[in-house]
Symmetry: C2
Subunit: 383 residues, 2 copies
């Protein structure tokens, strides 16, 4: 098992029928969530936020194909009803069942389909590699591969699945992540840990800069492994979130390369993250990465408009990972060996490292290249 079912106390199941998928994950425990910052929030997000007030969950039900977003009061009632359907199938209190949706915006849920799928998925619930993969596949929309992550320590495990390839796709969108741990942890602590981890992972992924109406990251702690060291748990949750976030970036619509931008020497971590995100989101940087063009001027120019103070003639910039790293600018001096730099951009991961020489803040952001395929996927589709 490579994600959620590796965590004691977690059963999963899912089916995907054409565009319409449904996943059930049963795991009782304390729970915390982080949600989209978009002011247009989908109905299931509103319901899930209500559920989080209790700080515990027994299960979640997730559908793909319809986002139940921009659907007003009827959408809210439908999301509550979807919890009720899942609760009935699992013999649980509806108030202890969370809900998430991803898919087309502005359409109502097909509750009879949800009811039908739920009835068929519930008997499949089990703890196995096949079950966690079925759940991960059930929530995919334009994703090209299911996304799993797992950290095991001596005393506990944290596993997660996610979906998303930008806010995206012909009208689809949404990043959903479901994490589980067997650590015993109070809901408010879990919330702090998850929020911090999301800030350093999901919030540093930019595929196209659009924030979905349905984004949710959820963590449930079953407690089966007993109490654990808080810092160790926080590190594990952050590692799982980062692993999932990088998979989302790599699976960005039309992407051929993962783009990883590390900014160091910023006034603080938030400033570093802001600069890294701005560079990763720049269409000019993204197209240069696609073309394997070591066009370092675009990286520096994008950094310059991020709203963070630094001296352009003090910065250092390199491209490539580890041993293959090639310097482009050294404390303001252009040292680019363009042939070497081009070679460093040839793989399926392009990493820039930018030192602003303005402090100790450091952060990495992830994205992907911008290709004709992205335009094709999003432009040629017709509602």
């Amino acid at each position: 098992m490579k994600s959620i079912c590796a965590v004691e106390g977690v059963d999963a199941a899912g089916i995907k029928e054409g565009k319409f998928g449904l996943a059930l994950i049963r795991a009782g425990g304390t729970a915390a969530g982080v949600f989209t910052s978009n002011r247009v929030r989908a109905a299931p997000v509103e319901v899930m936020m209500d559920r989080m007030r209790r700080g515990t969950l027994d299960a979640v039900v997730v559908n793909s194909g319809c986002a139940n977003a921009y659907t007003g009061e009827r959408g809210y009632r439908d999301a509550v009803e979807m919890c009720g359907i899942a609760a009935g199938a699992l013999d649980l209190d509806p108030a202890s069942v969370g809900v998430a949706s991803t898919g087309v915006i502005g359409r109502y849920l097909d509750l009879s389909l949800i009811r039908d799928q739920c009835g068929r998925v519930a008997p499949l619930l089990t703890r196995s590699a096949g079950a966690e993969d079925a759940a991960a596949r059930a929530i995919m929309t334009t994703d090209t591969f299911p996304k799993h992550a797992l950290v095991r320590t001596e005393s506990f495990a944290v596993g997660g699945i996610t979906k998303g390839s930008g806010m995206i796709a012909p009208n689809m969108g949404t990043m959903l992540a479901f994490l589980y741990t067997d650590a015993e942890v109070p809901a408010p602590v879990l919330h702090d840990i998850l929020r911090q981890a999301a800030r350093r992972s999901f919030n540093r992924v930019v595929v196209d800069g659009d924030t979905s109406t349905n984004d949710v990251a959820l963590c449930t702690a079953t407690g089966a492994a007993g109490r654990v060291d808080r810092d160790e748990l926080a590190r594990a949750v952050e590692t799982v979130c980062r692993d999932l976030a990088v998979q989302i970036a790599r699976d960005g619509e039309g992407a051929t390369k993962l783009l990883a931008v590390t900014v160091r020497g910023a006034p603080d971590e938030d400033a570093a993250a802001e600069v890294a995100r701005t560079v990763v989101a720049s269409p000019l940087v993204k197209t240069a990465v696609y073309g394997e063009d070591p066009n370092w001027g675009r990286v520096v120019a994008a950094a310059g408009r991020a709203g963070v103070a630094f001296d352009p003639y003090a910065v250092s910039l390199s491209v490539g990972e580890d041993a293959g790293r090639t310097p482009l600018v050294l404390r303001g001096e252009i040292v680019a060996d363009l042939a070497g730099a081009k070679a460093a951009m040839r793989g399926d991961t392009v990493a820039f490292d930018l030192d602003l020489a303005a402090g100790d803040g450091k952060a990495t952001a992830w994205g992907c290249d911008l290709t004709e395929k992205y335009v094709e996927i999003n432009g040629k589709y017709t509602t």
Copy 2:
């Protein structure tokens, strides 16, 4: 004459030789400028900002092909030298000559080419339709057409030329705009007028969200027409700036359509502008415009992440201009007639009108669609 030479007291000339162009514009008067907000500012921008302290100018010299950006102290000396060369050719005080550059970042100016071109351009200075067009063409980089604008009132004229098709092109970039008026106006007043006009025009154009290191908008007032009504002048300057800004958006790299997004009913004008800019910059909206897809969910979702408070279920949205306008959402109710909406997107201008029902603020932003051609222009080029 359709731009700067329609203004009394303005002579122009220019040549374009392959990628390398040079324009001279001679016009004595009070002067004001607005400059890039990018922290990485090109040398000619630094020099021009120095020049503006005096509040008067006698001429400007502009080259295309080399941005003289990220060139350090040598770049600054070169920009000053470029002013000196132009001043010599025109028999003017070097401190009264402004300078601007556009082109590749990270390369030094070829001063012997500048000197040679300046020597050949200076004798051509004259006030004619051919001269203003030669100047407008000399400063083009990836622009596909020269950009002119003119407003004449009973008492004065305001004319301008500009270049820019985003921050961009294979390493190129930069919006440059040169406005002239024969109104008599003190430099500080001219500066207020220009800043306000730029805020409502150039600052509301988004081709790809990248801010150049070299952006400059400059206005010189020759005073030949005497004193004029301040509000009337402000309106004329704003109209010329908006006309030029829309031309820049329409000439966005790879663009097939102009995208105009008007947001009304915002808490104030700045909030309206922020929402409009966010929608215009959204890759999902831009690709939908390219595909003539009336995917209104993307417009509402982009508005929702602009950081402005509104009730998603109170908004109204329509697409199309004037008589061809088709409602999509009416006070939160989906009323989209998709066939009609698709028809409204068929022309070379796609206009969305979004009413947030949250106040009286109104603003329009301009951009263009995102096409495979944009990716090709920016990705397939190799440094």
